[in-house]
C-alpha cells in the first residue's frame, strides 16, 4: 500500500513538472487527477477473446482491481471470461453482448475507470475514441490504428479529452529489450546508429487460407487473413518498432522522418491453395487477388540520423523472430532470435560475440529497475505491462 501511495505521489509530482500551463496538456492533467483517490480501479474489458482473456487473467492478479463489466459478441468468450473472474475470486461481471455496438453501453457506466480493448483490428480505434470521449482510461491492444487518419484521430482525441491512452505494446516490456534500453541510457552503446526489428511469425497454411467463404462486403469485423486481400503493407509493425523507438528516444528528442518500403510478390497463399488437396486451381482463393506480399522490408530514417530496418514476414515457413538488434558507436547487441550476443568495443575480444554466461552477465548488470526491483516474482512481461497499466490509473 505504501509503495503504491509513494508511486502515486511520484507520478503526480512528475506530471506536475511536465505540465505546460497554457497548453492542451494542462487541461489533460486536470481531468486526469480526478480518479487518483480511489482504493481500487474498475476496469471494463471490451473483447474477451484469447488475447482479452489473457490480459484479464493477468490484471486480476493485481489486488485493487475490479472488473465489473465485460463485452464481446461471442457468447463462448463471455462464458470463459466469467470463469476466469470466478477463478480469481471475483463476481461474474455484467455482460454486453447484444451486438457489435454494445461497447457503447459499457462506456456509459459511471463506475468504470478504464477499459482494456482487445477486439479484432477494425474495432480497436473506434472503441478507443469512444472510450476517451467517455473520459475512460484506455488500454489499447496492437496494432491500434490501421490508417493515417486513425493515427491522427487517436492523437487529437487524446489531446481534446485529456484522457490517458496506453498502447499495450507488450514487447516494450521484454526483459532484454528493457536491459538494452538501460544500456543505452547509461551510455554503453555510445551513440546508437542502426537498429533492426521485425515480425516474422509464420501463418503458413493457416485455416483461413482455405476459407472459401471470404466475404469482404458489409462486414465490419475482418479476420487477419482477410486483410491480406485488402492491402500490401507492413501490417503488424509495433512489436518490432516499440522497443526500438524507446532505444532511439523517438518522440522524446528524436523522431522518425521518412521511410522506404519494398515488398516481394504475393505468391505464397495462392500457391499454397493451388497445391493443397483441399484446394486446387479452381478453389476461389487460388484465383483471388491476394495483395499482401510475402516479405516487406522497410527502412526508416530518424531526425538524429539513425536508420531502422523493419521486417514483416507473416506467411513463409520460418522460425519465429522479432529480429531485434541495436548498433551504436561503442557496442552492438543482437537479440534472442538472431543470436543472443553482445560486442562491446575495447571489452570484447576482436570480432567475437560475447555469448552464454558472459552475455547473461551483461543482461543482469543492466537489468532494468522495473524488472529488478519491482517485478521479482513474475516471469512474463504481459504481467509487467498489465500491472504498469494499473499503476498509471491508480
Amino acid at each position: 500500500m505504501n509503495r503504491r501511495f509513494y508511486l502515486k505521489s511520484a507520478a503526480i509530482a512528475g506530471i506536475g513538472m511536465a505540465v505546460n500551463p497554457s497548453g492542451v496538456l494542462g487541461k489533460a492533467i486536470s481531468t486526469r487527477n480526478q480518479s487518483f483517490k480511489k482504493d481500487f480501479v474498475s476496469i471494463g474489458f471490451i473483447g474477451v477473446g484469447n488475447r482479452g482473456r489473457g490480459l484479464l487473467n493477468l490484471i486480476l492478479k493485481e489486488k485493487g482491481v475490479r472488473v465489473p463489466a465485460i463485452c464481446d459478441v461471442n457468447p463462448d468468450a463471455i462464458i470463459k471470461a466469467q470463469q476466469g473472474l470466478r477463478d480469481n475470486g471475483q463476481k461474474n461481471a455484467d455482460t454486453y453482448i447484444k451486438d457489435e455496438y454494445s461497447w457503447k453501453k459499457l462506456l456509459e457506466r459511471k463506475d468504470i475507470d478504464g477499459v482494456v480493448i482487445a477486439t479484432t483490428w477494425d474495432w480497436l480505434v473506434p472503441i478507443a475514441l469512444g472510450a476517451m470521449l467517455a473520459q475512460k482510461y484506455v488500454g489499447l491492444e496492437v496494432p491500434a490504428a490501421l490508417t493515417l487518419e486513425d493515427c491522427w484521430e487517436l492523437v487529437d482525441t487524446h489531446e481534446k479529452t485529456g484522457t490517458n491512452m496506453m498502447f499495450l505494446e507488450n514487447c516494450c516490456y521484454d526483459r532484454e529489450c528493457m536491459a538494452v534500453l538501460q544500456m543505452v541510457r547509461e551510455g554503453l552503446f555510445g551513440k546508437p546508429s542502426h537498429a533492426t526489428c521485425g515480425y516474422r511469425h509464420s501463418s503458413y497454411g493457416s485455416p483461413g487460407w482455405l476459407d472459401s467463404n471470404i466475404d469482404l462486403t458489409n462486414k465490419p469485423t475482418k479476420k487477419n487473413h482477410e486483410f491480406s486481400l485488402l492491402k500490401n503493407a507492413d501490417q503488424y509493425p509495433t512489436h518490432g518498432v516499440g522497443p526500438v523507438a524507446n532505444w532511439l528516444d523517438i518522440n522524446c528528442g528524436n523522431r522518425f522522418l521518412y521511410l522506404t518500403s519494398t515488398s516481394t510478390t504475393a505468391n505464397t497463399i495462392p500457391d499454397y491453395v493451388q497445391n493443397h488437396p483441399k484446394g486446387g486451381p479452381e478453389h476461389p482463393n487460388a484465383k483471388r487477388n491476394w495483395k499482401q506480399g510475402d516479405i516487406i522490408t522497410t527502412v526508416v530514417k530518424t531526425y538524429r540520423g539513425e536508420t531502422v530496418m523493419i521486417n514483416y514476414d507473416n506467411f513463409l515457413p520460418r522460425p519465429y523472430s522479432r529480429d531485434y538488434s541495436l548498433q551504436g558507436t561503442n557496442t552492438v547487441w543482437s537479440g534472442l532470435y538472431l543470436k543472443r550476443g553482445i560486442y562491446v568495443h575495447d571489452k570484447s575480444s576482436s570480432h567475437q560475440w560475447e555469448t552464454g554466461e558472459k552475455y547473461d552477465k551483461y543482461m543482469k548488470e543492466y537489468d532494468h529497475p522495473l524488472w529488478k526491483n519491482f517485478l521479482k516474482q513474475h516471469k512474463i512481461y504481459d504481467m509487467a505491462e498489465s500491472i504498469l497499466y494499473d499503476e498509471s490509473i491508480l
Binding site: G190, K191, S193, H194, S202, Y204, Y258, L259, T260, T262, S263, T264, T265, N267, T268, D271, G293, D294, I295, T297, V299, K301, R304, G305, E306, T307, M309, D313, L316, P317, R318, P319, Y320, Q327, G328, T329, N330, T331, V332, S334, L338, K339, G341, Y343, V344, H345, D346, S350, H351, Q352, W353
Partner: protein, 473 residues
C-alpha cells in the same frame, strides 16, 4: 534460329528500355552521377553468358597489382598445374621482391617484371604471350581501365571487386567483353565460400522451395584505428569522404544473386537505399587532424554513413536486403539469409543455420544436410582448399574453378554481366541516398538475355581435371 531469337530479344529489350528509364534521374541537377549511359540503348552484340572460349591448355597469367591481395591471389595459382605465372606488375619494389621470393619458395621460375611507371600495366597487357590478366590494384577507375585494356589486347580478365565504380564503366566493360569475346570475371570469392556453395546447391535442388527474399551484407569493422586510414591506404579515406552509399556490395550480393539465378532467369529491377548519419569517422578524422596536419584536408568533410541499408527488387518479385558498415564496432557478417517457401538459411551470426518449417535444424540434421548437399567442387577439392587457405579456402576454390574453366573452355561462373551488375549497386545506392531513398531502376546489362541464360553449373559436370600440386601442401 539462334540469331533470330537473339534479334527478337534485342527488340524486346529495346522496347522496354525506353519505358524503364525514370525521368527523375535526368531531372536531378545536383547529382550528375548518372547523367550518362544509365540505360544503354544498344543491342547485345554477343552473349558472354554461357560463352565457351577456346580451350587453353596452359594458362599464362600476368598479375597487375601484387600488394597483399594480389600476392594472395598469386599464391593460390602456385598450387595449380596448367598455370604459368609469367609476369607481375607493381610500382612498389618491395611487393615485387616479396612475390619473387614466394615463387622461388614454391619451386617456380621468377616472373617477368613490369614496374617503374604508373602505366607499366599497359606493357603487361600488351605482352602477346599472356592469356589471363589478374588485377588487384587499389579500388578506383583502374579496375575497369586495366580490364578493358587487357580485353582489347586479347586477354581474359580476372578483376578484384568491385569491377566498376560508375555506370559508364559498367557499360564499357560489358561492351568490350562482348566485342572482344574475352571473359571478364570478377573475383567475387564469397560465392565460393563453403556455406554459400552448400546453400546454392540446396537452392538448385529446391530445398528452399521458391526463394522469396535474401539478406546480404558487408559488415566488417575496421577497428577504431582503421577509421582513419594510414597514408598508404589514403584512397580508403578519400572514398568514404567522397561517397555515401553501399560502397562494397559484391561480397554479400554475389552469393544471393547466384541462389536467385539473377541474370539467368531473373533480373534486378530497382532499388532503394538509405544511409545512417556518420557517427564515428568524422570525429576520428577531426582528432587525427589536430595531431597531424596531413589530415587537415580530410577534416571538415561529411563521411559515408555508418550503416547503409539497400533494398533491391527483382523482376520475378523477390527482394534482397543489402547492408554495408565498415565503421561500427561489430562482429564480421555477410548475413547470407535466404528465405523460401519451404525453408530458410542464415549464415551470420555464426554458426550457420538452416530451417525447415518453423524450426532451426539441430546438429545431427545439419550433418545430414551437408552429407546430402555438399557441392561438387567442394567434394572434389574442398579439403585441399582448406589446407591452401585464403579466407578459409574459398579463394582457392575460386581460383581452381577459374583456371579449370579456362583450360576446358567452359563458361565463367561469374561473367561480365555479373561483374557489372553486382558492382553497379554502389553508384545506384549513392544516387538513392542523395535523393531521400527514392527508387532507382537498375540497368539490365544482359539486355533481355537474362530470360534465357542458363543458370551457373554447380554440378561440375564438365571439366574438373585441373591438377593440384599436392606435394606443396
Amino acid at each position: 534460329m539462334l540469331q533470330n531469337r537473339r534479334k527478337f530479344l534485342q527488340n524486346i529489350a529495346l522496347g522496354s528500355l525506353g519505358l524503364s528509364v525514370s525521368p527523375d534521374i535526368f531531372a536531378d541537377k545536383k547529382n550528375n552521377l548518372l547523367s550518362r549511359n544509365f540505360s544503354k540503348e544498344s543491342n547485345q552484340t554477343f552473349n558472354m553468358c554461357g560463352y565457351q572460349a577456346p580451350k587453353i591448355d596452359k594458362v599464362r597469367v600476368a598479375f597487375i597489382g601484387v600488394g597483399s591481395r594480389g600476392t594472395s591471389n598469386l599464391r593460390q595459382m602456385t598450387y595449380l598445374e596448367g598455370v604459368e605465372i609469367k609476369s607481375i606488375c607493381d610500382i612498389n619494389p618491395e611487393a615485387i621482391d616479396r612475390v619473387q621470393k614466394l615463387l622461388v619458395k614454391q619451386f617456380l621460375p621468377k616472373a617477368k617484371i613490369y614496374t617503374g611507371s604508373e602505366e607499366s600495366w599497359k606493357k603487361a597487357c600488351e605482352d602477346p604471350n599472356i592469356d589471363l590478366i589478374s588485377i588487384a590494384v587499389p579500388r578506383g577507375p583502374l579496375h575497369a581501365a586495366i580490364s578493358i585494356y587487357a580485353m582489347e589486347h586479347g586477354k581474359h580478365v580476372a578483376v578484384e571487386v568491385p569491377a566498376i565504380f560508375t555506370i559508364e564503366e559498367a557499360w564499357n566493360l560489358v561492351e568490350t567483353s562482348e566485342r572482344t569475346r574475352r571473359h571478364c570475371m570478377m573475383m567475387e570469392n564469397c560465392c565460393y565460400d563453403f556455406f554459400e556453395l552448400l546453400t546454392l546447391n540446396m537452392a538448385r535442388q529446391g530445398f528452399f522451395g521458391e526463394i522469396v527474399h535474401g539478406d546480404a551484407a558487408y559488415i566488417h569493422s575496421s577497428g577504431q584505428k582503421g577509421l582513419v586510414s594510414g597514408k598508404e591506404r589514403i584512397w580508403s579515406l578519400t572514398e568514404k569522404q567522397r561517397y555515401n552509399g553501399n560502397l562494397y556490395p559484391t561480397h554479400g550480393l554475389g552469393p544471393i544473386c547466384q541462389a536467385m539465378n539473377v541474370n539467368r532467369g531473373d533480373k534486378l529491377t530497382y532499388m532503394v537505399s538509405m544511409s545512417s548519419a556518420d557517427f564515428m569517422r568524422g570525429n576520428a578524422v577531426h582528432e587525427m587532424a589536430e595531431k597531424d596536419p596531413y589530415y587537415k584536408k580530410f577534416d571538415s568533410a561529411t563521411y559515408c554513413g555508418n550503416m547503409n541499408t539497400s533494398i533491391i527488387r527483382t523482376e520475378k518479385g523477390r527482394t534482397i536486403m543489402l547492408q554495408y558498415d565498415v565503421t561500427s564496432p561489430r562482429v564480421y557478417s555477410r548475413i547470407h539469409m535466404l528465405s523460401g517457401t519451404k525453408g530458410a538459411c542464415l549464415k551470420y551470426p555464426l554458426p550457420a543455420r538452416i530451417s525447415i518449417d518453423e524450426r532451426w535444424l539441430n546438429d545431427t540434421e545439419m550433418d545430414e544436410i551437408k552429407e546430402k548437399f555438399t557441392q561438387a567442387s567442394v567434394k572434389r577439392i574442398g579439403e585441399m582448399a582448406r589446407k591452401v587457405g585464403g579466407h578459409g579456402g574459398m579463394d582457392f576454390l575460386m581460383t581452381w574453378r577459374l583456371i579449370d574453366c579456362l583450360r576446358n573452355g567452359l563458361p565463367m561462373d561469374q561473367d561480365v554481366y555479373d561483374a557489372a551488375l553486382w558492382s553497379v549497386i554502389w553508384p545506384l545506392s549513392e544516387w538513392s541516398v542523395a535523393n531521400k531513398s527514392k527508387p532507382i531502376d537498375i540497368p539490365d546489362f544482359t539486355r533481355g538475355a537474362w530470360k534465357t541464360n542458363e543458370p551457373v553449373d554447380v554440378s561440375l559436370s564438365k571439366g574438373g581435371n585441373t591438377v593440384i600440386r599436392e606435394r606443396l601442401l
